[in-house]
């Protein structure tokens, strides 16, 4: 191959590697959050909320399956959705650090859900117009589901925040404790920049601004105080996680690790 042909090929390979990582970030965030919500099944504060959290989990895991399948195709090494979900170790997971945080009480679960719902609303809305047709189709579908999720989480945020003294103090405490992970949502790195340059994803700054406006409005409706911005020390998107992810994967991957390749 001539030197002239090698450079475009190298660029294309770099773009496909960045796309693989980008899709994995979206997929892993949905998968890990879905797994966390699944932990509520049988433990919800009321039957209706138990069902609601299970429904959110189902949608999220469905989105993760579509995204993981695509990631495997982009990578081109024969890994399918199951191989990617059940055979990677924690440092290979690229989910937002927020998604892996433990359920805590119902207020923690609602605040975590609401923060990620608001993030997905912006990310999926932009991706629905992506130059990548496959991602655009997945995002357009996921966006409809996410609007439904946000109605649930913002509704509970208002009910809890503007509720009793107990529900209010617990929800404010959840917000204050989880807010430090929110800086990661829109912290752009070289993967995001490459995606934006290729027209696959939109630049993150405008989405971050829309996210801030929506979050402030929802918090105002919930009569909760917006926490102060905090420095950005979290790197789940780069595979550096809190200790909680390993425990989650230990449970989620148990069967495939104990009996590799086992099928129903």
């Amino acid at each position: 191959m001539s030197a002239g042909a090698a450079a475009p090929a190298r660029r294309e390979r770099a773009l496909s590697e960045a796309l693989f990582r980008y899709v994995l970030r979206l997929a892993d965030t949905s998968l890990v959050l879905g797994q966390r919500l699944g932990e509520w099944v049988g433990h919800g504060p009321a039957l209706e909320e138990d069902l609601a959290l299970a429904n959110l989990a189902l949608d999220l895991i469905g989105q993760a399956r579509l995204l993981l399948t695509y990631a495997g195709e982009v990578e081109g090494e024969g890994r399918d959705e199951d191989a990617l979900a059940f055979s990677r170790d924690a440092p290979e997971f690229l989910n937002l650090t927020l998604a892996e945080q433990p359920n805590g009480d119902f207020a923690h679960t609602i605040v975590r859900q609401w923060l990620i719902d608001c993030w997905q609303l912006e990310i999926y809305a932009d991706l629905a117009a992506s130059a990548d047709e496959r991602l655009a189709a997945i995002a357009a579908k996921a966006l409809k589901e996410t609007r439904y999720h946000h109605r649930f989480s913002s509704g509970w945020l208002a009910r809890l925040g503007d509720g009793t003294a107990e529900s209010r103090s617990r929800t404010q405490a959840a917000l204050d404790s989880l807010w430090r992970f929110s800086a990661e949502l829109f912290a752009a790195d070289e993967v995001d920049e490459r995606m934006a340059a290729a027209g696959i994803a939109a630049p993150l700054a405008p989405a971050a601004e829309r996210w801030r406006i929506r979050a402030a409005a929802d918090l105002q409706a919930a009569t909760l105080a917006l926490p102060a911005p905090q420095p950005y020390p979290w790197h789940g998107k780069r595979g550096v996680h809190t200790e909680h992810l390993g425990h989650l994967l230990g449970e989620m991957q148990h069967l495939q690790r104990a009996y590799p390749g086992v099928r129903w």
């Binding site: 069902l51 609601a52 429904n55 949608d59 469905g62 579908k141």
Partner: protein, 157 residues
């Protein structure tokens, strides 16, 4: 019969066949009633293509629907038909057909339409939402304050 008319007759036949494939969760409606079958067409080489779309990304019925559709095609002699999964445009509850809406209502599930939500049992508009989520991804939980019965509503999405 011309080639075009023959193609169209074949497509009609396959649509009728798929109208007998029930939804695994709500068996009173078919996959055609729910708007899951997106197209049936014959390409220039004579190959039959059938497009189906998932309702919700995580709906567990999707895999069952795919295999039931495949089985119905195979049993009717269309083993070489290509079954294709279509993601775009995303499925909408607007695609549930008028016949499907009537069947849902007769079964006791309020069909997906704008407010007011009417009780499928007594027809009253005096209803309230219990939960935005229900026993399957496509349903929400309501109750009638007139006849006091709980019921499912097909979610609008």
């Amino acid at each position: 019969m011309s080639a075009a008319a023959e193609s169209s007759a074949l497509e009609q036949q396959v649509w009728r066949l798929l109208a007998d494939v029930p939804d695994p969760e709500i068996p009173v409606v078919s996959i055609v009633d729910l708007g899951i079958v997106r197209y049936v067409r014959r390409d220039e080489a004579g190959r039959l293509h059938v497009g189906i779309t998932p309702t919700y990304s995580g709906c567990p019925a999707t895999a069952v629907i795919r295999s039931a559709t495949r089985a119905a095609l195979d049993a009717a002699g269309y083993a070489d038909a290509l079954l294709e999964e279509v993601l775009a445009p995303a499925w909408s509850s607007d695609w549930v057909t008028p016949a499907g809406r009537a069947r849902l209502a007769a079964f006791g599930i309020a069909p997906p339409q704008a407010d007011p939500v009417r009780c499928p049992r007594c027809g009253s508009a005096a209803t309230e939402r219990v939960s935005e989520f229900g026993s399957t991804p496509c349903k929400a939980h309501y109750r009638c304050t007139q006849c006091r019965e709980p019921f499912d509503r097909f979610k609008c999405i």
